[in-house]
Symmetry: C3
Subunit: 395 residues, 3 copies
C-alpha cells in the first residue's frame, strides 16, 4: 500500500538522477533529494516484506575508505548486496598506489566491471571532495574513450565538506518522525557543537546537516563556542538556502540560548575550521611535532567548554522538554565512553533507540543513490520489482 | 535416495531451532543436534549432486574473528556463500570500535541487513562466550524495538568454553565413520593432552569434544598430565552427561593407560586451566613481563611431558592397533612442523586423509546451523529445494 | 553477430582445457590459447550487450597474493563475480599458515567449496611456479581421495617465470589492434628493457611476452643492456618457438637499433637475472645487509642506462614513427611518477588510452581461463547463455 503510493510519488517527482555522481546534497534539487528519500523508503519497505530489489546479476561496487569506518562500511556493503553487487575494497596499503600511480590510472584500472565507487576521504580540508571529482573526471574520460563499458557512479561516503549519506539518512529519519517533509517547515533544529575529550573530528557532519536541512524550510540554529566556526562558505550557503526555502538560519554562541524551544537537537563535537586548516597544512608537511602541539592546544581550548554537554537540564529548555535528539554515532557519552562528553548518559539512554533507527536508514539511502544513478525511470523499475515479487528469503 | 531419507529423518526429529543462537552444544537437545548433523549431510550431498541450496537472494553473514583463523574463516565463508549470503568481516583494527564504542551499539549498527553473525573469541577465559551473549542481548533489544528487521542468528566460531562448529563436524565424521550415531554407543574415545612446543592453545577443542561426545553413550577417557585440567565445570558436565546417555567418563593421567582398546583417539595439546586463568589476568593487566615469565615456566613444565606424543607404539595399544585418529588441525607433527610434537609423522600420515575429511564437514555444519536457525521447518524447505532442482553450476 | 561468429570459432577450435591449470602459456597449444582469447572476447561482448554469463549459483574463487597487486586483484575479482563466484582472499598474515602449516594441508582446507585458486607468487626465482604446482598436486590428491568434491583450477596470477593473464590480455589487445592473430605474422615487436629508478622488478612480464608472442609468427626483438638477461631457458624457448612459428627471435643490446621499423614496442624495466638469483639467495637467508648492498649496486648499474628511455626521438625510429606502445602498467613515466623513467610523458600520453584498453582485457582473460577450465564444451555453454539471454542489469 505505502509502497505503491511511494512509487507513485517517485513517478510524480519525475526526476532523472541517472549517470550523476552524488557528491554534495546542495548540487541536487529538492525534488531529486525527495526522490532519493522516497526510493530509500521503498527499498526498506520491500525488504521488510521479503521482496528482493535485486537489480544486478553481477557487478562490483568498489569502496575506498581513506579513513576508518564501521557504520558506513557496513551500510555500503549492505546496499550493494541488496541490489546484487559485490563490494571490492580498494585498500591502498595493499596496492601499488602508494608507489606514485596517478589517480586517473587507478580509477580506470579498477573500474572495468564496476558500477559504483564509494569514497570516504575526510582527513584533509580542501582535498576529499576534490579527489572525488578527479576520480569522476577520470571515469568520464575512460568511458568516453571506450575504456570503460559503463561509467561507474560515485557516491560520497564522507568528504571534507559534506557527509551526504549521513545527512540524507538523518533527513529520512526526520521525515518519518514528523510525518512528512512538509511538516518539517518551521521546525527548529539546533546543530550544536558539543564538548568532547577527543580532537580533530571532521566538519562534514555539521556542514552536511545545515547544508541539507536548510532546504526544507526549517529554522536552523547553529551553535558553537566562539572560534569553532565551520567552513565559512557552507555557513553562508546554509543561510541563503534557509531563506530561499522559507526557513531561517542563525548562529549562536550559547548552547542554552540556542536550545530554547528546539524541536530537534544534534549536539556533536567538531574541530574548528581554522584548526582543521592548520592541521591540514601540518599533515601535508608531515610535521609530527607541530601536530602534537596543535592537538595539545586544541584540547586545552576544548577544556574551557565542558559545559557544552547536552544534559537533562538543557533538554528541559527544548520544546516540551523533549526535542528529538539526533547523532551520527558513536556519541561521546559522559560516564560511558568518556568521563565528560557530548551528551549525558540518561539523555542518551532516552533517545538511544531513536538514534539506532536514524542510523538504520543509511544502507537504504546508499542503495537509493545507486538505484537512481542507474535507472532513468526508477518508478518503472520499482513497479517491475513489485510485479515480479521475487523473494529475498526464497522459502 | 539418501537425501530423501535424510529429509524424512529431519522431519521425524521434528525440532525447531529457528531464532536460537548456537553458543554451546550442551544447550541443545540430542534431537536438535541430530537435526543439524542431518541437515549438514543433506547440504553436502545436494552440493555434490550439483543441486544448489541457495535460499537467500541477498543478505549479509557477518564474521568477527578476535583471533586468527584460516579453516573456520573459509568454512564460514563457504557456508554463507552456499546459502546465498555475502560475508562481511568486522575487522576491529579497521573500525572505530577500538575508540570505546559499546558492544550494544556496534551489534546493531552492523546488523541492519544481516542474517547471521559468526564470532570467534577464544583468548580470554570467562570472556568469549559472555561476549557472544552480550551481542545476542543487544540484537534481541534491537529487534524488539524495531531497529532491526530481522534478528540475526549468532554462531559460535570458537569461544573460551566450546568450539561447536568443530565438535559437530567431528561428530558428523564419527557418525559416517561408524555408520550411525547409534553405533557410537559404547565406543571408547580418548581425548588426550599431547605434547607441543607451543603454549597457550585454547581449551575449547577438548572441552567441546567431551561436552558433545558425552551425549551419545560413548565411553570418554580424558587424559592429561596432572595439573593440565580443563575448566572444572565442563569436566563435571561431561561426566554427568556421559552417565545420563548410558556411557561413561573417566579422567586418567597416563596417555598409555588411557589408550588401551580405544576406538577413537584425539591427541591434542592445550594449556592447563589454571595457567589460562593466570594468563587471562595478565593479558587484562597488559602485563608483558608477567606473560613472558608465565610462558617460560609453562613451556618448561610442558617439556617434562614430551612422551605424551601419539606414536606408532601408542597406536598399537588401541583397538586393533587402529583407533580412528582425529585432530582439528593443524597438528604439531614431530619432525614436520616441529622437532617433537603431538603426533609422530608416520601415524599422522596414515590418517591424514581422514583428518581432511573430518575438516571437510565444517562448512556444512555451519550452513546447517544457519539453515535451521532460519527455517522453522527445515525439512519442508529442503523438499522444495529438491523439487526446484536449481543447479549450482548452471550449465 | 560477432558473438555468434566467435562461438563458432570456439567450436571449430575444438579444444578441451577442462580440468587443466593455467600455469605457463607455453604449456598450451596455439589452438588452446586462441580458444581462451576468443572466449574472453565473447564474455566481453556479452557483458557490453548486458547479457550475463553467470554460470555459477555459488562457489568460491580463492585468491592468494604473495605480492602486492591492484590491477590483477580487481581483474580476478571482476572475473569471478561475472561468472557468479565470490572471491575469498587467503591472507597469510591473518591466518595460521605462518605457524608452519604445510602447503598440502592449507590447499585442501580452503578448497572444500572452491572452484578456483588464483595465485600470485613472483618474489623468489625458482619458487613461485613451483609453489603453484605443489598446490596443484595437493588438490589432485585431495580430489582423488574424496576430500574435495571438485578439483579447483589454478590460475597463475604472476609467478617467477610467466605472467600469463598479462601476456594473454596483451595478445588479445594486439589481435584487436591488428585485426587478427593471422595479421600478427611478420610484425616486429620489441620487448625492451627500459630505465627505472626502482629496482627488483620481476622478470615475468618480459618473459611472458617473449614466451607468448613467439608462438604467432612475430619477429621478436629482445633488447637490454649487456648483463640484463632474462632466465636463459626462457630466452632459448622463445627463440625455438619463434622459429617454429615462422617468426624470428633476436637479442640486441641497443634500444635504438632494436626499435628500427618496429610495429610494436614494450619498453619496461626489470632486474637482471643474475641479480634476481642473488636477491633470492639473500631473501632466503634473510640477509638485510646483503640486500641493501645489492640494491645499491644494482641502482648504480641502472644509472648508467638512463638513456634507455622510450621517448619521442626513439619513437621516430619505429614504423611510421607510430609503433603501438604497450605496457602492463603502472609505467615509470619521466617527470610524472619519477624524474627519469621508462617512457617520456608525451609518448605515454599519446598511447595512454590504448594502454588502458590493453589492461581492460585482463578480467575477461581470467574469466575465460575459468570458463574453459570448467566446461569441456565451452561453445555449447556459450550458446546456451545466448539463448537464455539473462540480463546483467535486470531492468
Amino acid at each position: 500500500m505505502d509502497i505503491i503510493k511511494n512509487i507513485e510519488k517517485v513517478e510524480s517527482l519525475n526526476t532523472n538522477l541517472a549517470g550523476k555522481d552524488f557528491l554534495l546534497t546542495w548540487e541536487k534539487s529538492e525534488a531529486e533529494l525527495e526522490t532519493i528519500l522516497t526510493v530509500a523508503q521503498i527499498l526498506k519497505d520491500l525488504r521488510s516484506k521479503n521482496i528482493s530489489p535485486k537489480v544486478f546479476q553481477s557487478g562490483l561496487a568498489i569502496s575506498q575508505f581513506r579513513d576508518n569506518s564501521t557504520r558506513t562500511r557496513f551500510s555500503y556493503a549492505s546496499a550493494a548486496n541488496l541490489l546484487g553487487l559485490e563490494v571490492q575494497d580498494l585498500d591502498e596499503s595493499k596496492s601499488q598506489i602508494a608507489h606514485g600511480e596517478t589517480v586517473r590510472e587507478t580509477a580506470n584500472m579498477i573500474s572495468f566491471l564496476a558500477d559504483f565507487i564509494g569514497i570516504r576521504d575526510d582527513m584533509f580540508l580542501g582535498e576529499g571532495n576534490k579527489y572525488m571529482r578527479e576520480v569522476g573526471q577520470a571515469l568520464d574520460d575512460g568511458y568516453s574513450q571506450g575504456v570503460l563499458p559503463v561509467r561507474p557512479g560515485i557516491i560520497n561516503l564522507q568528504c571534507d565538506i559534506d557527509h551526504p549519506t549521513q545527512s540524507m539518512a538523518d533527513l529520512l529519519h526526520l521525515k518519518n518522525e514528523f510525518g512528512s517533509l512538509e511538516n518539517l517547515k518551521g521546525k527548529k533544529i539546533v546543530m550544536s557543537w558539543a564538548y568532547s575529550p577527543s580532537y580533530g573530528k571532521p566538519l562534514s557532519v555539521p556542514q552536511g546537516i545545515i547544508g541539507l536541512m536548510s532546504r526544507f524550510g526549517m529554522d536552523i540554529e547553529l551553535a558553537y563556542p566562539e572560534g569553532y566556526e565551520l567552513i565559512p562558505e557552507v555557513e553562508q550557503l546554509a543561510a541563503k538556502q534557509a531563506k530561499a526555502s522559507g526557513g531561517s538560519f542563525h548562529i549562536s554562541h550559547s548552547m542554552k540560548d540556542a536550545l530554547k524551544d528546539a524541536d530537534i537537537v544534534y549536539p556533536k563535537s567538531w574541530a574548528p575550521y581554522h584548526i582543521m586548516q592548520k592541521r591540514t597544512e601540518l599533515l601535508k608537511a608531515d610535521n609530527h611535532q607541530g601536530l602534537n602541539a596543535l592537538e595539545k592546544s586544541c584540547l586545552a581550548e576544548n577544556a574551557h567548554h565542558t559545559d557544552w554537554e547536552y544534559d537533562d537540564e538543557k533538554m528541559k529548555l527544548t520544546k516540551n522538554s523533549d526535542a528529538l535528539y539526533m547523532h551520527c554515532l558513536p556519541a561521546d557519552i559522559s560516564g560511558v565512553s568518556c568521563e565528560k562528553g557530548e551528551v549525558a548518559s540518561d539523555v542518551f539512554d532516552k533517545y538511544r533507540t531513536k538514534t539506532y533507527m536514524e542510523a538504520g536508514y543509511k544502507p537504504y539511502i546508499i542503495a537509493a543513490m545507486m538505484f537512481t544513478q542507474k535507472f532513468k525511470n526508477p518508478a518503472k523499475v520499482l513497479n517491475e520489482i513489485m510485479t515480479k515479487n521475487n523473494k529475498r528469503v526464497l522459502y
